[in-house]
Assembly symmetry: C2
Homo-oligomer: 491 residues x 2
Amino acid sequence: MTAYDDLMAFQRETEALSQVAGRLGWDQETMMPRGAAPQRGEEMAAMEGILHARRVDPRVGDWLGEIDQAGLDDVGRANLRHIQRSFDRASKVPAQLASRIARVTSEAQGIWAEARAADDFAAFAPTLTEVIGLKREEGQALSAGGDVYDAMLADYEPGTTGAELEAMFGALRPELSELRAAVRAAEAPPKLEGTFDEGAQMKLTRQLAKTFGYDMSMGRVDKAVHPFSSGSGRDVRITTRTNPTDPFNCFYSTIHEVGHACYEQGIDKDYLLTPLGQGVSMGVHESQSRIYENQLGRSRAFTGWLFGQMKDAFGDFGVPDSETFYRIVNRVSDGFIRTEADELQYNLHVLMRFDLERALITHDLQVGDLEAAWNDRFEADFGYAVDRPSNGVLQDVHWSVGLIGYFPTYSLGNVYAGCLNEALQTAVPTLESDLTKGDTSRATGWLRSNVQTHGGLYEPREVIEKATGAAPSEGPLLAYLKGKFSDIYSL
Amino acid sequence: MTAYDDLMAFQRETEALSQVAGRLGWDQETMMPRGAAPQRGEEMAAMEGILHARRVDPRVGDWLGEIDQAGLDDVGRANLRHIQRSFDRASKVPAQLASRIARVTSEAQGIWAEARAADDFAAFAPTLTEVIGLKREEGQALSAGGDVYDAMLADYEPGTTGAELEAMFGALRPELSELRAAVRAAEAPPKLEGTFDEGAQMKLTRQLAKTFGYDMSMGRVDKAVHPFSSGSGRDVRITTRTNPTDPFNCFYSTIHEVGHACYEQGIDKDYLLTPLGQGVSMGVHESQSRIYENQLGRSRAFTGWLFGQMKDAFGDFGVPDSETFYRIVNRVSDGFIRTEADELQYNLHVLMRFDLERALITHDLQVGDLEAAWNDRFEADFGYAVDRPSNGVLQDVHWSVGLIGYFPTYSLGNVYAGCLNEALQTAVPTLESDLTKGDTSRATGWLRSNVQTHGGLYEPREVIEKATGAAPSEGPLLAYLKGKFSDIYSL
């Protein structure tokens, strides 16, 4: 056994234990009896303790020091890059700070939930101040004198900087805001009316999952309050939800999560339980969920097929033709809530969070001024005022649990999806006629071969560059959105 | 922090991790997608590795050495007794032997399954010889010169010896065999006919679970190929199965597993995630499942109530009255398979396994002679010949996976259930009228207060003695079975 073999054997067990912890999280949201919560907290904490100890295990540092990289191939070097990064990250943060962050964010989530229920930002502000302070301290430890926000970004999107995102998002914002205003001034498509049997929704949603290439022999679909995808390798499970008056919520939540799940299922099985065996970043992950959900799932071609499926499942549901159905699916509506936003407006929600959290971390913005800053920005971009904190600054859980640097990966994922979609249109000339028949196999096959299969082999940006042949930019996403919504709204 | 506090904090994490491993097992049998099996094997092995390392962690030995028992109360001393026993057990077995046993038994299970499918004992014999050899070696390491089989028993029923069981079972065997012959010579009750909707079976089975006091807020009921109960404390899940022509299989599997689950749920919550927080032995566990299933669930009073529930669930199903229903439920039929045996014949199946495995371990019996020994013994006790190995010596998985010393705990549990039932009749004078109304609350409440709540506080035999006021013996079980079946069969 060489040092590399020893390290990889140790790492393989760590990856397996990490899968176990993930499965426990899945169970908690789907199967766990309500009364088990306190015991489960201790079970999860014990697993986290084991995983943390392995991440900072001094033997990992020793092995990393002993390995001669010259003898390794691309896969070996990529494995080391991930392990080194994770080891450095865990070692740079003092144990006492890490445990304070864990404790404070765990309590902060409850305080945030109460403040949101009471619509009282002031009740959450002191806790958020503490979280921001601790996270800034952590960022300083990680950045070693460099940009603190960039160090935080690296947890979710290694290789990307705040400055790059600022330039990209800065180019998107005025164009999206203008497109949004034009769309809202035009005549809106009708809304979907009626109720839709939830059992039939789940039946069709499982069919949709298979249609998008989700392998049910290595996954399953259950209901949960919040849709999510969980696990890597041969056991990747998704959840969705049903609402009798909003079947699109069920179907597009499913397709979104199937995008995440197919990424995990599509990774080269040689990378199973190694650092390469999971999606490389949040941004690339979101590119897969978004291109499945939007560029493919909400296309005119695919919705034409879906219209027929829904008529089969629910009978005549009052929509006269597939063109009307397409316009209903892509209806742009006012709203305060990010997670309910349509394809056009979603990024405006994210961009403001990116600017605000970056300002919080780089000291320009104090938590005491955050609510006002949020409300001003919202009105500037959307044209109407936030009515209450639960529809504004208190709507997302992220900051309370210390997720800073996470929000921008949502829009970066959309930007990547735009780039991939452009390349896909060229690579699969039959795309439109395929989707008209509900056949995603060539599209998802191209994504599997050009993105998903690589897992963690390349850096996130490299993955997109290799697939598209160009550096990622916001241009394709913007062109796609302008084209689509100008058409639907006859602008 | 004293050494005791340190030890208990460490142990608490170990117990939490052990619950996680158990939940993984539950998932595997109920929810896991088929294709995930190989990955799951690695996940389980990683968890087992963590748990094993904690069991033999030298710090545990140090803490045990430092603690002054004089300063501890009963609970503290009981905790130490369990931890010491587990530490000694793990430390006595050489690591290399433990890992050979793990590897060989893991392979042996597959070889056994193939041999059973092919009805070919010779194909399994070499593997069984290897398993027996390794287990004997392990038993020698554990017994340190004492009785090897007793050392194996201690894994499942600490404090019990092969000699004690031999005396107890030796008294049972001729009486049961004689009773069996008399019953089989008498006129049999009718069989249940017809088919029973499986959805309605599951609905009634969940109601039965609640009727026996199973707390659904800390548990759940799912289907699995083999019914089982899993978990301790606040998350104790059971499984059952359905067969359209045999609803009793569903209902009595459920009541049996509810007995196990209520034991776990009924343990004093102060013992949560400590060595006292789970059932104290396999025998005491089986006493709870059996008294729920048989003495309560198959009683004339309770089946009278169940008859009404089944009529509500399935309409008229061709049984004229509750007395006929009672006789159908308790019908004694010929059969080769232990797990399908009725209350009267079950122990005869177990007693022969106890004698045979003890003979295998103490060298009187060679694996090459096992099939003939099995067949001779079966014919002697049941009066007819085994027709093929899958109905005989190959029917149970236990020996292939190294479970030796486990079988007798099934009958010991029945003996304990007999003792508890005798005491319960006196303690709850309203028992019969309660059960007639489907009310088990006083009965299960008595079991909770007198058996379940103690968890691991006392030694197994002590638990029964404290509850019944007498040393356990086979007398009450025998009297109960004779009375019940003489009545049903008019002997």
